[in-house]
Structure formats: structure tokens, C-alpha cells
């Protein structure tokens, strides 16, 4: 089957399995809810203050939710070493990676879609700058976390304490992207300064690391 055919089939399988046993997604939705509520308790800013710090809080909350989802990326493949079946088949490794990354992207976006309204309610948020720009920022930012997250989840399969390894590998490398997301969102919320530079940075980050992942994923998959 063609490259995108395999990607589509793998993604469809993952979404179907996720939909069938909804326990994973329910647990993560509840986890995200908890994160938002706890953040809201620990800070109770006025409307003006909240606009200034909300960018950072929202993205750190999204990061927590993403990490929990990313840790599950290869769980199903690991259970019966299905990766061996994939590696023996003629299917290209990148098709698997792209499917997993897109699957994670959908997954994390669903979590974010739930958390955002809660943040708006708890922090009485109202953006002063061009609100529509928040969409590309969220998409680019989430993809930046997810593409590297899926890749490093594959690397951390081969290490001892897998759950702790993924954030250890992902966070340092994601600092520029995190800086970009937080500052872009703050610029929009407070209306001061433009998010253009940060959006450009996020685009560059996504392009660089998506291509790096596609180039090096096969090497990681083969390194058993």
C-alpha cells in the first residue's frame, strides 16, 4: 500500500482502538481537568494580571496533559511486540511515525479543547489582541510537542525508567517552542506587541524537527 495509505490505516486503527476502549481517553480528560482546577486554585489573579500570566499557565497545563498522552504512544505496540511485526513488513517506518504523531496530535488537541473553556471561565480571560491568531499558535505549538514527543517516546522505549525518560528528553529540546507558545499567547491576550515573531519561530521549529524526526526515525526503530 502507498505511504499515506499505510499512515491512514495505522491512524484509523489507533483511533478505532482508542474509541473502543475509551478508558485511556477518559482518564486523561479527567487528568487535564484536575490540572486546570489545581492551577486555578493556586493562582487567583485579577482580570488584568490573569491576561499576563495565563499564557504560561495554559501551556504548562497543556504540557502536562501532552506528556501523559505521549507516554501512552507505544504502550499498545509494546504489549505483544507488535513493532517486530511492523519492522518485518515492507511498510516504511516513517508511515508508522507519522500515523502515531498525528494520532497524538488529535489526542492532545482533544484534551486542549476541553481545558481551554475551563481556563477562560476560571481566569475570566478575554483576549485584547487578534484572537484568531491563537488557533495557529495552538496548532503549531501542539505539533511541536507532539512530533518530538512521539519520537522521544520511541527512544525511551529502550531505556530503564521509561515514564521519567520521556520528559527528561523532551523538555530541554522543547524550550524554544515553549518560549514561543507562551509569549505568542501572552502577546495576543495582553494585546501588547505582536506574536508574529513567535509564530515564525514555531513554524521554523516544526519544520526543523519534523524533518529531523522523519529522517532519523528508522534508525531509532532499527536500534533494538
Amino acid at each position: 500500500m502507498s505511504f499515506f495509505g499505510i499512515t491512514r490505516a495505522t491512524l484509523a486503527k489507533d483511533v478505532r482502538l482508542e474509541w473502543r476502549s475509551k478508558d485511556a481517553i477518559n482518564a486523561m480528560l479527567f487528568f487535564s481537568l484536575l490540572v486546570v482546577v489545581i492551577f486555578s486554585f493556586s493562582f487567583d489573579p485579577t482580570a488584568e494580571e490573569s491576561r499576563r500570566i495565563a499564557g504560561g499557565l495554559v501551556w504548562v497545563a497543556f504540557l502536562f496533559a501532552a506528556i501523559v498522552a505521549l507516554n501512552q504512544t507505544w504502550a499498545r505496540e509494546l504489549r505483544n511486540q507488535v513493532l517486530d511485526a511492523y519492522r518485518v513488513s515492507p511498510a516504511p517506518a516513517n508511515a508508522l511515525f507519522l500515523a502515531k504523531a498525528l494520532g497524538n496530535f488529535i489526542f492532545v488537541t482533544v484534551l486542549e479543547a476541553l481545558m481551554t473553556p475551563l481556563f477562560i471561565v476560571f481566569y475570566k480571560l478575554r483576549a485584547l489582541g487578534p484572537t484568531w491568531e491563537l488557533l495557529p499558535i495552538a496548532a503549531l505549538g501542539t505539533w511541536a510537542l507532539v512530533v518530538n514527543g512521539t519520537f522521544f517516546a520511541a527512544i525511551s522505549l529502550r531505556t530503564r525508567s521509561r515514564e521519567i525518560m520521556l520528559p527528561l528528553l523532551l523538555f530541554p529540546i522543547s524550550i524554544p517552542a515553549l518560549l514561543g507558545m507562551v509569549n505568542a499567547t501572552t502577546a495576543i491576550l495582553t494585546g501588547e506587541g505582536s506574536a508574529r515573531f513567535w509564530i515564525a519561530l514555531l513554524v521554523a521549529y516544526d519544520v526543523v524537527f519534523t524533518s529531523a524526526c522523519l529522517l532519523l526515525f528508522e534508525t531509532v526503530l532499527e536500534a533494538e
Binding site: F171, P172, L179, G193
Partner: protein, 227 residues
């Protein structure tokens, strides 16, 4: 080989002490900050040396991925480890300098923040090497090293723009430098480069020995097994 090592050791010792003398005594005292500015002669060359070591690590990782040559892998490990040591020096001397001059321990100064991020990246690189249970740890490590290196320009630009929005004091003043100061700076850098070379050489030999012993023990346990 042995002779080369001891020559380098002597040269390094001489250079370091001469550089120390230059930095503390011979160099002119800076008008505004006074003598505390002399931390500059240790802080900046350490950062440059660390960045150079990480560059070598990147090149060695790429060479390893292409040729799977263990020497390149050992060089990558060694330069990462020694690079982290020099980064630690920068991260310690930076705040010590910022405290008396601006009254704050930490400032999001471009060089300091870049060093901090690099420190985090290469410590996670060393943690991966220690935690990996795969027989192909070098492959995983070199992939991570390449990711780390790709990250550096992005880190640089994000901090640079971040600083224009949150101006903060610059450590070591970007402005023009008194030529004599620049001279002392270069001497210190040369001294640190020799020191880095010496330490890398030692660590390299140590790693080669460790791997040989490991292999010998593996063979021995096998022979006992089948005897």
C-alpha cells in the same frame, strides 16, 4: 603517545598559571565594575570552550551515525561530558558575577541562558546514555545529540528576541573591549582549550579501557559458562 600527553600536560599547566596571573594582576581594572569584572576572563572563555566541545560532539555523532565507528562514539561521549563540566563553570561564575554588579543572582542574559539550555540538553544526553538498556545505546545517543545541536540556533533566536522584550543586564558588556583586556581573554581561552583537550584525552583513554575490560569480562563469563 605517552610523551605527547605529558608535553600537553606541562603546556596546559604553564598556560593556566600564566593566564591566571594575567587575569588577576596584569589586566587593567575595569572603570565601572572594578576588580569583580575579572570574572569575565574565566566566565566567557569557559562558555566558548563548552560550545566548541558541543560542536565536536555534534560532528562526532554525525560521523558515528554514518560510519558506526566506535571511536567517534567515544569522542561524542567524552566531549559531551567535558562540555557539561565547562557549562557548569559558566553557570556558577555567571551568577557570582551578577550578584555584586546588579544585586541579582540570575539574569536572562543571552549567553548565560543559552549555556543553561545547553547544559540541560547535554545532561539529558548523558542521562540517556546511562539509562539506556539497548545494545545500540550509541545510536540513540547520537540521534539525541543531533536533535540537541539542531535546537541550538532556535534556542539562540528565541532567547535573543525574548531579551529584547524583557531587557535585562548583559553580563560582560557587549561593547568594545580594551585591546589589552581582549589579549588576556584570548590567553585564558587558549589555556582553557588546552585544559579541555587534556581532560578529553584522559577521559577518552579511560572510556576505551572501560569498554575493553567490559568485553573481557563478558568473554570470561562465557568461557566459565561453557567450561
Amino acid at each position: 603517545m605517552k610523551r605527547g600527553f605529558s608535553i600537553l600536560a606541562i603546556v596546559t599547566a604553564l598556560l593556566l598559571s600564566f593566564a591566571l596571573y594575567e587575569a588577576l594582576i596584569a589586566a587593567p581594572t575595569e572603570r565601572t565594575m572594578g576588580d569583580v569584572q575579572r570574572i569575565f576572563y574565566y566566565h566567557v572563555p569557559s562558555a566558548w570552550t563548552a560550545f566548541l566541545l558541543f560542536l565536536i560532539n555534534f560532528v562526532a555523532s554525525v560521523v558515528f551515525l554514518i560510519r558506526r565507528d566506535t571511536k567517534a562514539d567515544i569522542l561524542a561521549l567524552v566531549t559531551a561530558e567535558v562540555g557539561v563540566v565547562f557549562c557548569t563553570v559558566v553557570l556558577v561564575t555567571g551568577p557570582i558575577w551578577a550578584r555584586p554588579v546588579w544585586g541579582i543572582w540570575w539574569t536572562w542574559d543571552l549567553r548565560l541562558t543559552l549555556t543553561l539550555v545547553l547544559w540541560l540538553i547535554y545532561v539529558s544526553y548523558l542521562v540517556l546514555r546511562r539509562f539506556s538498556t539497548s545494545s545500540q545505546t550509541p545510536v540513540l545517543a547520537s540521534v539525541l545529540a543531533i536533535f540537541g545541536a539542531l535546537d541550538v540556533p532556535l534556542v539562540y533566536f528565541s532567547i535573543w528576541f525574548f531579551r529584547t522584550q524583557h531587557p535585562s543586564p548583559v553580563i560582560g558588556g557587549g561593547g568594545s573591549l580594551d585591546p589589552r583586556m581582549a589579549h588576556v581573554l584570548l590567553i585564558n581561552w587558549a589555556a582553557f582549550l588546552c585544559l579541555a583537550w587534556l581532560v578529553c584525552w584522559t577521559r577518552f583513554r579511560l572510556e576505551v579501557l572501560e569498554r575493553e575490560v567490559e568485553e573481557a569480562q563478558a568473554l570470561e563469563s562465557l568461557l566459565e559458562g561453557s567450561r
